[in-house]
Every structure is written in C-alpha cells, then in structure tokens.
C-alpha cells in the first residue's frame, strides 16, 4: 500500500505551487567531459562563478572550484555514480546555502543541512551561505565574558572567553572529543547554543556523541553537523563551513554560541584529496598552497561582535553576539610542528595540549599545564576563579620542576618537601571525570580548599573522595553560598569567610 509523506498535505503543496516561479530564465549550460573520484570536468559554463552550485542531471549538485580556460573543475556533493560523460550541467547562479535557525537545534544534519536523524523535515525558512567573510574590526568587541567548560583545570588555568578560538590538540585517545563534549554539556541552561561538527568520524562515534548529549539533556541546545568517514571528501571539506553558518545565525541575533570542529585535521586531509584530484600543485606534506587560508577563514568567523553590528544585521538592540570555537587537531606521535598543527596553533587564541603520557598515568583531563595557554581568556575569567586559580598554575609549574630534580635528591629540606606535597595534591585535585562538569561555585570551593592549605592533611589518594564529599556537603548545607557564587562569581572577604567556615565545618563533622 502506498503511504502518504508528511510533505503531501494539500495546504503545503498549494503553498509550494504558489511560490513556484515558472518564468523561464537564461541559463548557462555545459557538458560533462570527465568524471573521476568525485571530480567532474565540465566544458562550457562560461559564466560560472567560483564556488557556485552546479546542477547535474538527476538533481545532484556540485561545487565549482577550478575555473580554467576550457573547462570547469567541480566536486560533486553527494553520489557521483549517476553522472556520466556527455550529460549536461547547469549553472544555478546560487552560492551554496544551508538552512539555519532555532529549528535546527536538537537535530543531526549532514554538511548540506539535510536532516539525517529520521525526525522528519526541519521547519525553517532562513538560509545562510556557507562561506562568509568574517566581521571586520569595526564590528568587533573584546572578549570579556567567560565560557565555562566545567573543567577545573581548563577554567582555572586556560580560561576560554565567549568569542575566543581555543584549540584542543593532542594525539589520538587523549580525550580531545571528550573535553569538547563536556564543554557542550556544561552549556546547558546558560543560553549558549552549541554546534558540534563531526568531520570524518566513524558513524558509531557520532551516534555515541548524540546519545551522550541526549542522556545529559544537552541535545536541546545543540546542532550536530555530521560528515562521516564514508561521506565524500567534498562533504568533509564543507561541513565546518556549514556548521559555522548555523552558529553565525545565533551570533547575528545577539546570542552566544559555541562551535566544536572535531577535527580539522581530517578536513585538511579531505581538502588535500580534492586539491590533488583537481591537479592543484602540492606543497608541504602534499597539502595545497591555500591550506592555511582554509582554516584561517573558518576560524576568523568565530568572534565577539558589538551591539551596533547585531542591530545592523538582525535589528536586535543592545545585545552583543559571540561565536566561540573549539577546533580540535589530532597530532601524530605528539608532533605539534607538523604543517596543519602549526597553522592552527598560530591562528587560534591559545591551545590546550593533551598528552598521552599524562592520560596513561591517570591524569584526566590529560592537559599539560605548562604548554597550554589562553591568550585572551584571562580577561573573561570569573573573578573568584581568577583570584583563586592564579596559585594553581604556579604551584603546578614549580612542582614539575622540583619533581624532576627531586628524583635524584635523597633528602630534601622542609620547604621543598612542602612544595612537592602541595604540587602532588593539586595535580590530584585537577583530575576530573568525564560527563561531570562543575559549576563555578564547586570549582571555586575545590580550589579554595587547595590554596588555603585545607588539603595538606588529606592523603594524596583520598583527595578525590575528599573533594566529592566536600562538594555534596556544600550543596546540601551551604546552598545559598554556592548559589551566590554561581550567579555572581565575585570574590569578596565575605565569600572567603563563608568558604572557610564551610570547609572547616566539613572537616570537623564529616568523613571522606
């Protein structure tokens, strides 16, 4: 029996017929000369524009990337098996666009914005071109609001501000994606909309991410753009730009958004494949000459814009907009001096280094606090974390130096031993489980306990239990104080006194 589709409602069909423009327009047509590996060469198409969509027979689209004297090189967006030599190819006069809007939230879409989660069509009318020039100097504003990732180690030592680009870099299996996904989960209830762009990942990994986000109630504020490992290279190349266009919708409306590119190494690979097949000359590591521009134009679009810009673009008054980017780069054997890692490091406003050694020795997140930096986030840090967290970074730096030295020394003076012990405790305290982001209050409390010396009489292997017990005690007995810190994030004498009282009471009455 034939079934009716949701799109076959008379009213919808009528509306579509009303909107149909049947006036015949002059079009540019060409002939397909060759098809190979997703690349099509077309003869004719004299008026084609760079980056224009080209329509092939059977409704498949392509993207014009090489405009040569006698032919046009295009990548096919989708299945190229039905395209044959001699078929006609038409100019559409359109630059590639993807649907945007609130209706996209909670959905999984492909690089062209088509839903792939089986939840039916996306009801949205707004569209945005995938490529857009980043807002200029006049439209921008400094980064001064924090974007909390929910990780103690990140928020205290390498804070991320709204509108910042912070690179997450590390070898495979060091928890890069986990960190980005936790950052998305932590945006629940903050009004920050998230876009997760999965590039070249296994379908099973993508399904896992969707499930985890759903479990933690984070799908409602998240769009997932998925270009899996089995999708054509053109989709992998386009996915970050599509995701960025979807994020920019919120930026333009004066809202805050977070976008995760997981990962840009694979996008560079896909672009290398396309470029080599288009016969562009290969350069270092066989990447084409414009691989820097590939990432710089993408990451420049993540920024904070001022109210004037927002007013001009969307008419919303008195709101600043921001798009924070967390690009991910996978290194091979810890080699950060390879081509793509160095490029992206130089583009972003800081990086979080994750190391295999740390990961395997149980320090998770495996962040190397020495080489991880945030160039602009300091200005955006919550006051309490800024005040208390300053000591943490220093303690860890001294600890690392001393620890290396202390391996050879037989007996150490008391000051050195105290520093080593403190360093050990801080290292232990910075450990945090996956899917367990912390609020500002909880984070402030933990760091307060460490810097004020409340951990000195706690055994190193009990630090985790101590922290967990302390936080649950604080949330039940000192809920007002925690709420106060969470809302304002200020650090004053009163708050310090309150925290001190809290920890002292806890140590006097509770066990861990």
């Amino acid at each position: 029996m034939q079934q009716l589709n949701p799109s076959e409602i008379s009213e919808i069909i009528k509306k579509r017929i009303d909107n149909l423009d049947v006036t015949s327009q002059a079009q540019n047509e060409g002939t397909v000369v060759s098809v190979f590996d997703g690349i099509v060469r077309i003869h004719g198409l004299a008026d084609v524009m760079y980056g224009e969509m080209i329509e092939f027979e059977g409704g498949v689209y392509g993207l014009a990337l090489n405009l040569e004297r006698d032919s046009v090189g295009a990548v096919v967006l989708g299945d190229y098996k039905n395209i044959a030599e001699g078929q006609t190819a038409k100019c559409t006069g359109r630059i590639l666009e993807v649907p945007t809007g609130e209706a996209m939230l909670g959905r999984v879409v492909d690089a062209l914005g088509n839903p792939i989660d089986g939840k039916g069509p996306i009801e949205t009318t707004t569209k945005a071109p995938v490529e857009r020039v980043a807002p200029g100097v006049i439209s921008r504003q400094g980064v001064d609001q924090p974007l909390e990732t929910g990780y103690k180690s990140v928020d205290s030592m390498v804070p991320v501000g709204r509108g910042q680009r912070e690179l997450i870099i590390g070898d495979r299996q060091t928890g890069k994606s986990a960190m980005a996904i936790d950052a998305i989960i932590n945006q629940k209830g903050t009004g920050v909309k998230c876009v997760y762009v999965a590039i070249g990942q296994k379908q099973s990994s993508i399904a896992n991410v969707v499930r985890k986000l759903e479990e933690h109630g984070a799908m409602e504020h998240t769009i997932i753009v998925a270009a899996g490992a089995s999708d054509p290279a053109s989709m992998l190349y386009l996915a970050p730009y599509s995701g960025c266009a979807m994020g920019e919708y919120f930026l333009d409306k004066g809202e805050d958004a977070l976008i995760v590119y997981d990962d840009l190494t694979k996008q560079a690979w896909a672009y290398r494949q396309i470029s080599l097949l288009l016969k562009r000359p290969p350069g270092r590591e066989a990447y084409p000459g414009d691989v820097f521009y590939l990432h710089s134009r993408l990451l420049e679009r993540a920024c904070r814009v001022n109210p004037d810009y927002v007013k001009n673009v969307s008419g919303v008054e008195g709101q600043t907009g921001s798009l924070t980017a967390l690009p991910i780069i996978e290194t091979q054997g810890g080699d950060v001096s390879a081509f793509v890692p160095t490029n992206v490091i130089s583009i972003t406003d800081g990086q979080i280094f994750l190391e295999t050694g740390l990961f395997n020795s149980g320090i998770r997140p495996a962040m190397n606090a020495g080489v991880s930096v945030s160039r602009v986030g300091g200005a955006a840090q919550t006051k309490i974390i800024k005040k208390l967290g300053g000591g943490i970074r220093l303690a860890l730096a001294q600890y690392r130096e001393l620890a290396a030295f202390a391996q050879f020394a037989s007996d150490l003076d008391d000051a050195t031993r105290a520093q080593l012990e403190f360093g050990q405790r801080v290292t232990e305290l910075m450990k945090q489980k996956q899917y367990a982001p912390m609020s500002t209050g909880e984070m402030g409390l933990s760091i307060f306990a460490a810097t004020e010396g409340f951990l000195d009489d706690v055994e190193v292997n009990k630090i985790g239990d101590f922290e967990a017990a302390l936080i649950s005690y604080a949330n039940s007995e000192f809920a007002d104080l925690m709420a106060q810190i969470n809302v304002k994030g200020d650090y004053s004498k009163d708050i310090a006194a309150g925290l001190k009282e809290l920890v002292e009471k806890f140590k006097a009455t509770q066990a861990w």
Partner: protein, 178 residues
C-alpha cells in the same frame, strides 16, 4: 575534450589569422571542415596515428584525399599539423576556427528545439528577439522534439533558455518534493 580544445586553440588562431589576412575566411572554413571530416574517419585515423609512417606520408595521405579542395596554404597547414603529430586534432581545430569566425562576423548559431514545427513567422519573431538580446546576427536552426510537450528550448553556445512545458513540469516536481 577540454584538454584537446586547449591544444587546438593555437592552430585555430593561426589559421584564422592567415585566412583573415588573405581575406579567404570562407575558403579556409571549407578546407578545414573537409579535412576534419576525413581526419575523423576511423580508417584514416589509423593511418594518421600509425607509428610506422612519416609525417610527410601522413600529410600526403590526407591532402590527396582532399584533392583540389586544398590550396597551397591549406596543404602547408596540414603539413605543420602532421609534423607536430596533431592531425587528429582537426575536428577541434575546426570547432575553434568556426567560433572565431562567428565572433568576427558577429554571428551566433542558435538551435531552437520546439515541440512542434515552427512557422516562418514564429522563426522570424524569435530570431528578431534573440538578435536584440544577444546583440549579434542569429543563425537559426530548428529541431523538433515532441517530448517537450510545448514551448521551446533555445540554445546559443552555452546559454540555454528553457521555456518548455517539460522544463516547467520538472521545476514543479522539484518544488513539490523539496
């Protein structure tokens, strides 16, 4: 094909410049199209690509076939092509030559595909309208394709104006399915 056009372009340009200088565009056009027709023939193509034959032998084979249709300049042209092993490019050269010729004459070949045979008056109206739009002389050729259902498709180079009922139906189908 695209690469062949690139290879053929300098020859076509040279032949065209020579023809223009001698004021013999039509004659050159005839010579080239005859030579091209022979060169495209399967049997002769084998000769033209045969590694055992010298360039001169191959050129002679072609000029002999063309007979007295070729003047000395034409024969020399084929000889040069043969020396450079480009005799098989002749069809592409003719194409490029005709394009240059049309540009010189401000003329364009237009194919009109219609569902039914067009009347002379209709053809006249069409060519007048196209002349205004394209700003050059229009050489109209008509074709009939009943699958269009109605209306016409106009092709001028790579410019296509689809005013057929079939095209409109396709658009409607796309709009309703999207």
């Amino acid at each position: 094909m695209a690469e062949l056009t690139t290879l053929a372009r300098p020859y076509a340009k040279a032949a065209f410049a020579e023809a223009l200088e001698q004021n013999a565009l039509v004659q050159w056009s005839d010579m080239l199209s005859i030579a091209a027709q022979f060169a495209a023939d399967d049997g002769l193509e084998k000769v033209l690509l045969h590694p055992g034959l010298t360039a001169e032998q191959q050129a002679t084979a072609l000029t002999d076939l063309c007979g007295d249709k070729l003047n000395q300049a034409g024969k020399n042209f084929l000889m040069i092509l043969s020396e450079n092993k480009r005799l098989t490019l002749l069809p592409q050269i003719v194409e490029a030559f005709e394009e240059l010729k049309a540009a010189q004459e401000h003329a364009i070949d237009v194919t009109v595909v219609s569902a039914f045979e067009l009347t002379d008056a209709q053809q006249e109206t069409l060519s007048q309208a196209l002349k205004n739009k394209l700003q050059c002389d229009v050489r109209l050729t008509g074709e009939v394709d009943q699958t269009l259902v109605g209306g016409v498709i106009i092709r001028a180079g790579d410019l296509v104006i689809d005013g057929s009922v079939r095209g409109k139906l396709a658009k409607l189908a796309e709009a309703m399915n999207s």
